[in-house]
Amino acid sequence: MSESSPKKAPSRRQFLTGAAAAGAGAVAAGAARAAGPDPLITDVQDWARATGEGVDATPYGLPIEFESDVVRRNVEWLTADTISSINFTPIHALDGTITPQGCAFERHHSGAIELRKDDYRLMINGLVDTPLVFTYGDLERFPRENRVYFCECAANTGMEWAGAQLNGAQFTHGMIHNMEYSGVPLRSLLQEAGVKPEGKWVYVEGADASSNGRSIPLEKAMDDVMVAFKANGEALRKEHGYPVRLVVPGWEGNMWVKWLRRVEVMEGPVESREETSKYTDTLANGTSRKWTWVMDAKSVVTSPSPQAPIRHGPGPLVITGLAWSGRGAITGVDVSVDGGITWMPARLAAPGTDKALTRFYLDHNWDGSEMLLQSRAKDSTGYVQPTKAQLREVRGENSIYHNNCVQTWWVKENGEAENVEVS
């Protein structure tokens, strides 16, 4: 991620179209409540008279056109080009916890490569009894497991360290996705090669030009790291590492090496570019943390939010969002509507699971006044999501990575929301 100054981007917010849509919605809702009968009910509509598409129309479907705003977006000024760059999951528009693969964020360092299963090779070498080469077909013959985990980029929310900058949960918190992975434990492959006693680390790298090499302690590699080839039931998408990627539960997304081609057992870490120049976190005094692997507990209200304003006026309001922790399971989420003076426990849609997204709801009765909306996650280790001020107190403002601060949305009387910082 570049640290250079943002350039001005096109200026008008979605609020304009949002407000227009809200107006139209209000009219429609008003009509439904008005004295006159609703023609959507009293007139026979086309879809109730004629026929829809046949089952042969769409061998593999995309979302209906009315959902065309639920897409990945990039922010041009963040990086020098779009090849080594990032885009963002539209978390403001999603619900539940599983991220549809087609709009799940991408982060490449030399683009999304095309690697056929037939051309795929995985090498295990280094401090092993027998260095091995596997084909894709070999991997499918190992005992398999299925697990749901979040993959969060270390830089998620990184642009917000120095202040409130990007206006929308997609941009401030959308370098994340959560999928059900099918694959084999990395442990199985290492055991097949036979790890020598001197082996203490593994170095993992991808088949792409950037290679994205990272060092992982052997203990983690033998614990829950997966070599995955399916996500959400189907093959990985090209941009997510087809045909094989590493899944490193709870740890920063950079280590989830895509197009995985080699695992080398080593005595020490390689200290590669992606764990020295990048993915090290500079503190206020100029020293930097390295090996900050775990993603701490974090949450965000996804709606209402800047891209998901309230369009229905006062009354019942669903406040919802996501919480997650790389250290374990989410055990609770508190929500504040007054900027953190008072907190209310939210309802978890399902009990939190290890290192995976958790959906929360607060069923609220909005009186139409301004709100300063916040959420605060707590995980199974007792860790409570900190404020940005608490984080800055320890780290300063130049860490770039690992910003898991409490986010504030200023919801105005007209239902629009804005990314703000509060005292």
Binding site: R141, A209, T282
Partner: protein
């Protein structure tokens, strides 16, 4: 601890040529470096040919492309400039990364000697060696990287121990709340309308 698994007999032994082709990583102690050498002088020409269009004639960076030189002593500044000279702890990383992943869009086209020369030129651009310097696998570890001591291992569990609080405040947690920063004032969020489906 995981049980010792039975081997399944899947995969086949990797050949030496295959390992040599893919196992290119270089560690801080120099493990993995091939024999070879390159001078600042040769590096300057190679850099001009392969690198300068993005990284600048003096490794100072063009537009938003990474700056490879400069920034000495800026790490505690409000806007640190983190380069090979000011930030990178190990020279091995520079050699490894250039050799494997650069030039951007045409990676793995440099010979070992080319890489030594280019890395020598990057060192020269950072005022870390003289213009007659020749870098080789023999003297590689003699080069002192200014920020070699600038890194600590993740210490969050110690320095952020106060984030583990069993009973976070639920009521009257502060007296007042004021908005101190607004994203709409910066106004750098991309336009949302007109996005293709």
């Amino acid at each position: 601890a995981p049980a010792m698994a039975e081997k399944l007999g899947l995969g086949r032994a990797a050949l030496p040529e295959e390992i040599a082709a893919w196992d290119l990583d270089v560690s801080p102690d120099g493990t993995g470096l091939p024999a070879g050498s390159g001078s600042v002088e040769d590096g300057e020409m190679l850099f001009a040919e392969h690198c300068a269009i993005c990284h600048g004639d003096f490794a100072e960076g063009v537009d938003n492309w990474p700056k490879l030189a400069g920034g000495k002593g800026t790490l505690a500044d409000k806007d640190p400039l983190k380069t090979v000279g000011s930030y990178w702890p190990y020279l091995s990383t520079a050699w490894d990364y250039v050799n494997r992943s650069m030039p951007f869009g045409n990676a793995q086209t440099l010979s070992a000697d080319d890489t030594y020369a280019i890395v020598a030129y990057i060192l020269y651009s950072n005022d870390l060696v003289e213009d007659d310097f020749v870098l080789s696998d023999e003297n590689f570890l003699d080069v002192e990287m200014p920020n070699a001591g600038g890194f600590i291992v993740d210490d969050r569990e110690a320095t952020e121990a106060h984030f583990w609080t069993s009973e976070p405040c639920m009521e009257d947690c502060k007296d007042t709340v004021e908005i101190t920063m607004r994203a709409a004032v910066l106004d750098v969020t991309p336009e949302e309308i007109g996005t293709e489906a």
